[in-house]
């Protein structure tokens, strides 16, 4: 996962406070002794976008290309889970249209 905003679970427009709160929540959820690798990712993400200057620098100098996961995550962030239609359920069970 390359996008620090996605890793911290905040919008790219988030302010310092929101990012800090998300970072602390992520660290609480995943302390270094439990998953050092994940913690390191979270820490690096926070350091990349912790304040406005860093966010600008990230925007200007980041060369890490977006990944499939980044694209999918941003895409699916807009999705709203829905109940299935009857037709879809019957199709899965073998109904021939």
């Amino acid at each position: 996962m390359n996008d620090p905003y996605r890793l911290l679970g905040v919008a790219a427009t988030a302010d310092d406070e929101t990012i800090r709160a998300a970072y602390l929540a992520a660290v609480r959820a995943c302390p270094p002794e439990r998953d050092p690798q994940r913690f390191e990712q979270v820490r690096a993400a926070f350091e990349a976008v912790a304040n406005e200057r860093m966010r600008l620098a990230h925007e200007l100098f980041n060369t890490t290309p977006p990944t499939l996961d980044d694209v999918l995550a941003q895409l699916s962030a807009q999705w709203r889970p829905a109940a299935p239609s009857e037709a879809a359920l019957y199709r899965v069970l073998g109904r021939q249209d």
Binding site: R53, L56, A57, L60, F61, N62, T63, P65, P66, T67, L68, D69, D70, V71, L72, A73, Q74, L75, S76, Q78, W79, R80, P81, A82, A83, P84, S85, E86, A88, L89, Y90, R91, V92, L93, G94, R95, Q96
Partner: protein
């Protein structure tokens, strides 16, 4: 027949049939059991035949030959007198879209006894559920009622109403063939809101039950993170569609999602592939998102710029400059990157909104593209970039501090004060800025002001030990100044003040030594000096500190080492032990580099140190500590002595070999003989292999200096070999007698006079951008080192092009750097 594996040819036919069955040779087994049954219909042979048919049918089904599998199953039922709807038959029918055939079995199922009917109905449950009414004629009332309840539950689930779903599920009885729908539909209803509860409910669905396709889709839906993408690929079209429905994926994005899943599974997610994919599905994504991703990917595949231009709103000039700069960085073309960054600065700097960005770009250029002098000063470009960045954004404290430090390193106190004023304007209470203010005041001899500023810092940060030390040092420095001008009472009170703030034994020792120097009568002062020497750790370190402080403090005429040492009772004829040497190393570490007082003070103890080097008995790390301390202060002869001593105990240790070589050649690297050069080149590898990257890097620098500056023959006279015959006619008189060494000298002068940038600019023009960039990639180091490396190549080429007899330079093929390639266009460069 396999010899020695299966039964022999003479084995009984029954054994052969059983063996074929056990070896999964079902086709053979079928034939053999059929032959056996012709003679007698023994139950175990009928059972064997049924197993052989079943095995063969499953083999065919696994190959996708469903029709053949179904036909074989029917033969099996007839030949072995078994019900046809046992086993996988009904499932295969449904998979093969033979719903009517499956439901045609219903009348025979209804006639079965209850214990056989239930499993048969269970197999048919999914088919019954989806079947049109017209196919259910003649079916029992009970069966119709169970089906109606199940369909009502499906309808309630689709409505998404929890209460009506609950009621409908309760209507499905425990003995109904549709009973698996209860946990399944419950999981379906929960999957969007409570994945854990949904998974728990799904776990209650029996494995390979009649509704497995639905359960499988739901399992994919509940996979954590992005694993569901991989699961999606393993579902059939209806299953995928259901999963994407449940996820809420709009129809316009489904093709993109499936392509993403395919690319992920194929691990084909290179930037180029992803860019192509995004361009192909550009309408599936919100345009700003798609455009942003495509621009990011362009930095890795800039050749696709036109495709992105055509697909989206074309990048602005600033965006294009940014992505070209990043693309050049990725391709390790620092000079090209620099020019794009500077273009970006120009574009951004013209609007107030872009100025902060422009400032960031300039700071980054100063960080990454600039070279530093050997004294740590910034090159002119870095300096200018930082200065310009502060015009765009004066609120960056670090840039203020870097420029301030640079002014101090250059010894330009006036400039440093101006910088300080600018920094204080924006950061009046910042500890680091105030710290710099104190240091500047001290450097300017304004000790009272320094102490005052430091006290101001203590008001905001009362526990800061660095500030307390600064105050103490300010008083100590003031005391020195007063001693130098013979204002002894005032000096004593400054020493009192210094003692109040300074805490470390070394600092307090320094205060005591100065006190000893000014205490009257002299006899009382001697006692203080002797005590100070003892407190500081003995004759070596105490005596050294005494001479160091005296040299810094006393007017030259009053500085007399031997009488001072006598007053302090220091005997320099002994051989110091390890503890004293380590204390000296620590004392040396506390002395700033290039402190003019150090060398004369230490010189007095050379004899002691040489004796100590010959009798060292400390550990390797202690030995290293001492060598490094001496090396840091350029004490070449002592460093060499201690390193050589270390190498006797730890032969071939890279760091000591480096320190010994650096002591011998760091000042005049061109004098390094080939043998030493090759040895160091080998040691570079050793250091690298041992993970000692610091030593490897230091060796590389030393070799670079020997390579870049040297003429390679070790004698360093630089005038050998010119002249001679065969010179080309018509050459400018100044070039007529030139040889490689002289050409190098000319080149170096050009570099010196014109500066690195001008030199590189000319080299680029003459070599051509492609060749220049290739060389830039091949030659490591910063711009200055690169320019120096070019000197040798360009000089050799220039002389060759002048058709002069070039004396072959001694070629040093370095493992640490690829040698620069020659370029025949060098003659034009000289014309410049």
């Amino acid at each position: 027949m396999l010899v020695g594996v299966g039964p022999s040819a003479s084995a009984a036919p029954a054994e052969l049939a059983v063996a074929a069955l056990a070896a999964a040779r079902f086709k053979d087994a079928v034939e053999q059991f059929k032959d056996l049954l012709k003679s007698e219909r023994r139950p175990d042979w009928i059972e064997g035949l049924a197993l052989a048919y079943a095995g063969r049918a499953e083999q065919l089904a696994a190959k996708g030959m469903m029709k053949e599998a179904l036909a074989l199953w029917r033969i099996r039922a007839e030949a072995c007198q078994l019900p046809v709807f046992s086993g996988p038959y009904v499932g295969w029918l449904l998979q093969n879209k033979q719903l009517e055939t499956a439901l045609g079995l219903l009348p025979s199922v209804d006639k079965l006894p209850a214990e056989s009917r239930e499993p048969a109905l269970l197999q048919l449950a999914a088919a019954l559920l989806v079947a049109p009414e017209r196919l259910l004629g003649g079916w029992s009332e009970e069966g119709r009622g169970q089906r109606a309840a199940a369909r009502a539950a499906v309808a309630a689930c689709a409505l998404g109403e929890a209460a009506s779903l609950e009621t409908a599920l309760q209507a499905i009885s425990f003995r109904s063939p549709y009973r698996d729908l209860r946990p399944l539909l419950k999981a379906l209803a929960l999957q969007g809101s409570d994945a854990t509860a949904a998974a728990a409910s799904l776990a209650r669905v029996s494995a390979q039950g009649p509704f497995e396709p639905l359960a499988r889709a739901l399992r994919v839906c509940l996979m954590p993170g992005d694993q569901w993408l991989a699961g999606l690929r393993r579902l059939d079209e209806a299953g995928r569609s259901l999963v994407l429905d449940l996820k809420g994926c709009p129809p316009t994005q489904r093709a993109l999602v499936l392509d993403l899943a395919a690319a992920k599974e194929a691990s084909a997610a290179t930037p180029a592939a992803l860019l192509d994919l995004l361009l192909r599905h550009k309408r599936a994504l919100p345009e700003p998102l798609a455009r942003r991703h495509c621009l990011s990917l362009l930095t890795h595949v800039p050749q696709k710029l036109d495709a992105v231009r055509a697909a989206f709103l074309p990048p602005s000039a600033a965006e294009e400059a940014q992505l070209m700069a990043l693309a050049a960085e990725i391709k390790q073309q620092p000079d090209r990157a620099e020019s794009h960054w500077l273009r970006l600065v120009k574009l951004l700097g013209s609007t107030p909104a872009g100025q902060r960005r422009a400032a960031l770009v300039l700071r980054r250029l100063a960080d990454e593209h600039a070279s530093h002098g050997s004294d740590g000063t910034l090159c002119s470009h870095a300096h200018d970039w930082l200065e310009q960045s502060l015009q765009f954004d004066p609120t960056d404290r670090d840039s203020h501090l870097r420029l301030l430090r640079d002014a101090r390193l250059r010894g330009d106190l006036k400039q440093a004060r101006n910088r300080l004023d600018a920094a204080l304007q924006h950061f009046p209470a910042d500890t680091q800025v105030l710290m710099a203010a104190v240091e500047i005041a001290q450097a300017a001899g304004a000790f009272k002001r320094a102490a005052g500023l430091a006290r101001q810092m203590l008001e905001t940060d009362p526990l800061n030990p660095q500030v307390r030390t600064l105050i103490g040092q300010a008083h100590l420095a003031h005391a020195r100044k007063l001693i130098g001008t013979q204002k002894l009472p005032a000096a004593l009170s400054e020493l009192d003040a210094a003692q109040e703030w300074l805490r470390s034994p070394a600092e307090r020792g320094s205060v005591m030594l100065l006190r000893g120097l000014v205490t009257e009568p002299a006899a009382a002062g001697d006692v203080v000096l002797q005590q100070a020497v003892s407190d500081l750790g003995g004759a070596l370190v105490g005596g050294f500190q005494l001479l160091l402080q005296s040299k810094r403090t006393l007017p030259p005429i009053q500085y007399a080492p031997q009488p001072l040492l006598r007053r302090a009772g220091v005997d320099i004829t002994g051989t110091p032990g390890t503890a004293e040497l380590l204390a000296l190393a620590r004392a040396l570490d506390a002395v700033p580099e290039r402190d003019a007082a150090l060398t004369p003070a230490l010189a007095v103890f050379t004899g002691m140190l040489q004796r100590a080097a010959a009798h060292m008995s400390c550990s390797e790390s202690e030995h290293l500590l001492i060598c490094e301390a001496l090396h840091r202060h350029g004490q070449a002869s002592l460093t060499e002595r201690f390193s050589a001593a270390a190498l006797q105990r730890w032969p071939e240790r890279p760091v000591f070999i480096y320190l010994e070589a650096a002591a011998r050649f760091a000042d005049e690297p061109w004098r390094m003989p080939d043998r030493e050069w090759q040895r160091l080149d080998q040691v570079f590898d050793d250091a690298h292999d041992q993970g000692d990257e610091r030593t490897a890097s230091r060796i590389s620098q030393l070799l670079g200096a020997a390579e870049g500056d040297g003429d390679g023959d070790g004698d360093g006279d630089g005038d050998g070999g010119g002249g001679g015959d065969g010179r080309a006619s018509g050459l400018p008189p100044g070039l007529a007698n030139i040889d490689t060494d002289q050409m190098q000298t000319i080149m170096r002068e050009m570099l010196e006079l014109g500066g690195v940038d001008k030199f590189l600019q000319l080299a680029r023009q003459q070599l051509g951008a492609a060749a220049f960039e290739e060389l830039r990639r091949d030659i490591p180091g910063n711009r200055k080192q690169f320019a120096q490396a070019l000197v040798k190549t360009l000089a050799a080429d220039a002389v060759r092009d002048l058709e002069l007899p070039v004396l072959p330079p001694k070629i040093r093929v370095r493992k640490t750097a690829k040698p620069a390639a020659a370029d025949p266009r060098q003659l034009d460069f000289l014309d410049e």
